[in-house]
Symmetry: C2
Subunit: 123 residues, 2 copies
């Protein structure tokens, strides 16, 4: 488990290619694996500053509880910034933090790729 078992063919792949440990990645990847998380990042990145209702409208079919949970998680993770205006009616604007912007830059090509590929996969 902890130790990589030495096989007789330890050098079957070139030693120049070392294996990265993905263990510490779990937390963030797990967060991004929640439903709509990735899309929320990109939607906010595209529309910021964006209000709650606009995000909700961008998906159209997401429960308020789910979207709320995702926004809280992403905000708590330091990827989103939530600015609340104590007006009537109340207005809240979401935007990407510096970290969120970095992430968004990484996510957009992924979504673009997924978009182009959708329906392309052989069945």
């Amino acid at each position: 488990m902890s130790g990589n078992p030495k096989s007789t063919d330890t050098d079957r792949r070139s030693s120049s290619e070392d294996v990265r440990c993905y263990c510490p990645v779990g937390g963030m990847i797990d967060l991004l694996s929640r439903k709509y998380a990735i899309q929320v990042i990109c939607v906010v990145g595209a529309l910021q500053p964006v209000r709650y209702g606009e995000i909700e409208d961008a998906f159209g079919d997401v429960s308020s509880s789910t979207l709320s949970a995702r926004l809280s998680e992403l905000t708590d993770a330091g990827l989103l910034e939530r600015e609340q205006h104590d007006t009537i009616p109340p207005q809240v604007e979401y935007a990407l933090t510096a970290d969120g912007t970095e992430l968004c830059e990484l996510l957009e090509p992924l979504l673009e790729w997924a978009e182009n590929r959708t329906g392309t996969e052989r069945d």
Copy 2:
């Protein structure tokens, strides 16, 4: 500052920035949101050709059922290629397809970012 709320302007954000529809992305994103899916892609990309046991060992704490399901899904999606040698003992090697390689190229910077950021987030 185009953040003028509730205005007659239909384009509160610059019209140069149009909103992409992420609806068709769901399928692929949903697939990648499955547990270890992203990591499997990258692990295979790093170790290919890689055997089942090596992947299992790379994670260390994955159920065989879960890993098996993930490999099947990714193979079925055309991202992984499974080559079976009818030898004794049986040996199976996984590798990335062209599509899988493209995806891996997109995923690696994401994991790298997540890695650097892990533990950096403020509580």
